[in-house]
C-alpha cells in the first residue's frame, strides 16, 4: 500500500523524525486557511501516488495565503502521470542549506533491506545511479543484525557526508530505518532529506510503501487507504481478495494463479488478440468467488469474450463449473465464455458444463485452443 506524502510524514513524526508543519487541503479554501494558519512562506504540494510531480507543476512555493489559494486552484485536478490531484499538502517553508537523498528499500534479490544515501538529493535518484554511480552509497542491512550504528557510519563515509554533519544525521538514518522495520515497509524514501541552515536535518518529502500482507498489524495505516483513488473494479476485486488488473483489449481473462494468468495473457496476444483485463482467483476458490470474479471481469464494457483458464490444484474444477453456471443463472451474460479446465476434478467440472449445455459456453481442451477460440469470438463480436 502506497502512502501519500502527508501520511508518510505522519509516520515519520510519530517516530520523532523532524518534518515541517503542514495541513492537508481538499479545496482552495482549505488551502488558503492552512496557509493562514502556518503563516509566512508555504509550499503547496499535490498529493498523488506517483513520482515526478515537481516537473509536472504539482509543487509551488508561495509567499502568502492568497498565493497559496491561487496555487491550489492550479494544482487541484492536475493530472500527474495519470493520477488526478484530489488533495494537497500545505507545508511551512524551511531554509534549506543542502539537499540529500536517503532511502531504505526491500531488496528482494539480496533478501535484505538496502540503504541508499547520496549528497545529490532533490533530483531523480535513477539519474544519480546512472550518471554518478560513485555518488550513490549503497549498503545492505543483514536482518539478523538489524540496523546498527556502524551501518550509518559506513554509509555516511561512503556517501562522503562531511564529518561534522554526521553526528546530526546518524540518528535520523537510524530512525528512518526503524520506521521501515516497525511499519513493515517495502520502501521508505526521503528525497530531499534537507540540511537546514541551522545545522539540523529534516525530511522534506516522504515516499512510504507498506507491505499489504502486514496491514493486519497496522490498523492505523490501513485506515489511511484512499478508497476514492482506486479503480472501482480493482477496489471490488480487493474486497473479495481477488487480484484484478485492467488492460485495454477486448478479451477478459479469468484464471487461477498469477503465473498461469500471465501465461494466458501471453497466449491471447500470441493468438492475435488483446486482453481487456485479467482476474486471478488464487488457490482453492469457491463457486461464489468464481461468480464474483466473472462479474468483475464482465463489468468492463470493452470485454467481448471471456477466457476461463483453470488448472486445478487446490482449486477444484467442479467448483469452478458450479460458480460459472451459478453466475449464468443470476445475471445476464453479454459475452461468450470459453472454458478450459484441467487438474483436480476437471472431468467432473467438464461433465457439469456439458450437462448444462449453455450456449454461451464453449469448452476447449487445451490452453492454446481456448485462447484461439476466445480471440476469434471477441473479433466476431466487435
Amino acid at each position: 500500500m502506497d502512502l501519500y506524502e502527508h501520511q508518510g510524514k505522519e509516520l515519520f513524526a510519530k517516530a520523532g523524525i523532524p518534518v515541517a508543519a503542514g495541513h492537508v487541503a481538499y479545496s482552495v479554501d482549505e488551502a488558503r486557511a492552512a496557509a493562514e494558519q502556518l503563516g509566512g512562506v508555504v509550499v503547496v504540494k499535490s498529493q498523488v501516488l506517483t513520482g515526478g510531480r515537481g516537473k509536472a507543476g504539482g509543487v509551488k512555493v508561495v509567499k502568502d495565503p492568497a498565493a497559496a489559494a491561487e496555487a491550489a486552484e492550479a494544482i487541484l485536478g492536475l493530472d500527474i502521470n495519470g493520477h488526478i490531484t484530489r488533495r494537497l499538502y500545505i507545508e511551512a517553508g524551511v531554509k534549506i542549506a543542502k539537499e540529500y537523498y536517503f532511502s531504505v528499500t526491500f531488496d528482494r534479490s539480496a533478501k535484505m533491506p538496502l540503504l541508499m544515501l547520496t549528497t545529490m538529493g532533490g533530483m531523480d535518484v535513477e539519474d544519480v545511479a546512472e550518471n554518478h554511480p560513485d555518488a550513490l552509497a549503497r549498503l545492505h542491512v543483514d536482518p539478523a543484525l538489524g540496523y546498527r550504528g556502524f551501518h550509518g557510519a559506513q554509509l555516511m563515509s561512503k556517501a562522503g557526508i562531511p564529518v561534522e554533519e554526521r553526528k546530526a544525521l546518524a540518528p535520523l538514518l537510524a530512525t528512518l530505518y526503524s520506521v521501515f522495520e516497525r511499519e513493515e515497509a517495502m520502501l521508505v524514501e526521503v528525497n530531499p532529506l534537507v540540511l537546514l541552515e541551522d545545522g539540523t536535518f529534516l525530511a522534506a518529502d516522504a515516499k512510504v510503501t507498506i507491505d499489504d500482507n502486514a496491514l493486519f498489524r497496522h490498523a492505523d495505516v490501513e485506515a489511511m487507504r484512499d478508497l476514492a483513488a482506486a479503480d472501482p473494479q480493482e477496489q471490488a476485486a480487493r474486497e473479495h481478495d481477488l487480484a484484478y488488473v485492467k488492460l485495454d483489449g477486448d478479451v477478459g481473462i479469468l484464471g487461477n494463479g498469477a503465473g498461469l494468468v500471465m501465461s494466458t495473457v501471453d497466449v491471447i496476444a500470441q493468438a492475435g488478440g488483446r486482453p481487456a483485463n485479467f482476474c486471478d482467483v488464487g488457490g482453492g476458490a469457491s463457486a461464489e468467488k468464481i461468480s464474483t470474479a466473472l462479474g468483475i471481469v464482465l463489468s468492463d464494457e470493452k470485454v467481448n469474450s471471456v477466457l476461463f483458464n483453470i488448472f486445478g490444484g487446490i482449486t477444484r474444477c467442479d467448483e469452478v463449473a458450479k460458480g460459472l453456471l451459478g453466475a449464468l443463472e443470476t445475471t445476464e451474460i453479454r459475452a461468450p465464455i470459453v472454458v478450459r479446465l484441467d487438474g483436480t476434478n476437471a472431468e467432473e467440472g467438464r461433465a457439469l458444463l456439458a450437462e448444462a449445455a449453455r450456449p454461451e459456453i464453449t469448452v476447449e481442451k487445451t490452453m492454446l485452443e481456448a485462447a484461439a477460440t476466445a480471440v476469434r469470438l471477441a473479433k466476431e463480436a466487435s
Binding site: F106, S109, A144, N213, G257, S263, Q270, G313
Partner: protein, 291 residues
C-alpha cells in the same frame, strides 16, 4: 532418487487439525508420503486418522523422527511455525501458506539460511516426486515418474507444464514449486544444484516469470556448474509495464526483469526458452528424442 520429497522423508504437518491441514496431510499420505506426525498446540495425544498429533514440532522430532515439516497455518502464525520447525532440528521445511508478511520472512530467511536448513516457499505448492512422495498441494495425478526435474515460481504454471510434458509421454524426477513471494527459502539456483546432484534427473525445466532477477542469476550458475540440459519457459512476455501481475514478485522494474530480458540472458548461456508452455514442452520433447 529424486529430491526434497523422497522415500526417506518423515513428514510432520504443522496445522494438521485445520481444515486445509487435515485435507493435505491425508492426501499426501494417500499418495505414499510417510506422514509421521502432526502438530497443533494443546492437542497432544489426539490423532488425525491415525496420524499422531503433538503439542510441538520438537515432540514430533523426538518421538516420531520427523525430518521434514509441511507448514499449513494461517499467514500470521506461519513465520513462527517455520522457526519452531527449524529450532526443533527439522532438516527441510515446506511452507504452503500464502500472504506471510515480507518482514517476517526476512527474519525467517536469515535465521534458516546460515544454519543449513532447507526452506521451500512460502506461498508455494510444495514438492512432488512422482511415484515416491508428495509434500504439499501439487495435484499428483497430472504427473508421472521420469528424468525431468521441474522447478517453477508459479503453482498453476507448474501443473500446466507438467501436464504438457505428460501429454507427450514425459515424466518427472521431482517437481519443485519455489513460490513467488519477495523472500523465498529455495531459489532457482538451489533447485538447479539439487537436480544437478540427483541421479534420477537427466533434464531440467525451469519455469520463470517476469520480475526480479532470479532467472538471470540462474543463467550464470547454469553456465558455471550445471552440466545437465536446461530448458526454460518465462511467463509474462505480454505483461504491461508497471502492472502487478498478482505475485508481489512480478513487478517490472526498468528493463531488468522483463520476460524478454530473461529469455535473452538464458539463451546467451545456451538455455532454450519457450514463449508458452506448449512450446517449452515441445523443446524438451525434442531434446529427449535426440537423447
Amino acid at each position: 532418487m529424486a529430491v526434497i520429497a523422497t522415500k526417506d522423508t518423515r513428514l510432520v504437518v504443522q496445522g494438521i487439525t485445520g481444515r486445509e491441514g487435515t485435507f493435505h496431510a491425508l492426501r499426501n499420505r494417500d499418495y505414499g508420503t510417510n506422514v509421521v506426525a502432526g502438530v497443533t498446540p494443546g492437542r497432544a495425544g489426539q490423532d488425525v486418522e491415525g496420524i499422531p498429533v503433538f503439542d510441538s514440532v520438537a515432540d514430533a522430532v523426538d518421538k516420531q523422527g520427523a525430518n521434514t515439516s509441511l507448514v499449513i497455518v494461517p499467514p500470521r502464525f506461519a513465520a513462527e511455525a517455520i522457526l519452531e520447525a527449524a529450532d526443533a532440528g527439522v532438516e527441510q521445511i515446506i511452507c504452503i501458506t500464502e500472504g506471510i508478511p515480507a518482514h517476517d520472512m526476512l527474519e525467517v530467511y536469515h535465521y534458516i539460511r546460515p544454519r543449513g536448513i532447507r526452506l521451500l516457499g512460502p506461498n508455494c505448492p510444495g514438492a512432488l516426486s512422482p511415484g515416491i512422495a508428495n509434500i504439499g498441494i501439487i495435484p499428483a495425478e497430472v504427473f508421472k515418474p521420469g528424468p525431468i526435474g521441474l522447478v517453477s515460481r508459479s503453482g498453476t504454471l507448474t501443473y500446466q507444464i507438467g501436464g504438457e510434458l505428460a501429454a507427450k509421454g514425459l515424466g518427472n524426477s521431482t517437481i519443485i514449486g519455489i513460490g513467488g513471494d519477495p523472500v523465498i527459502g529455495t531459489s532457482f539456483i538451489d533447485a538447479l544444484d539439487l537436480f544437478q546432484a540427483d541421479d534420477q534427473t537427466e533434464y531440467i525445466v525451469m519455469v520463470g516469470e517476469i520480475g526480479g532477477n532470479e532467472e538471470e542469476k540462474a543463467a550464470e550458475v547454469i553456465a558455471e556448474r550445471i552440466t545437465k540440459p536446461v530448458v526454460s519457459y518465462i511467463a509474462g512476455f505480454e505483461a504491461p509495464p508497471g502492472k502487478t501481475m498478482g505475485h508481489a514478485g512480478a513487478i517490472i522494474s526498468g528493463s531488468a526483469g522483463t520476460a524478454a530480458a530473461k529469455k535473452e540472458a538464458l539463451e546467451a548461456k545456451g538455455v532454450p526458452v519457450g514463449t508458452n508452455p506448449t512450446e517449452a514442452a515441445q523443446i524438451v520433447a525434442d531434446l529427449v528424442a535426440k537423447g
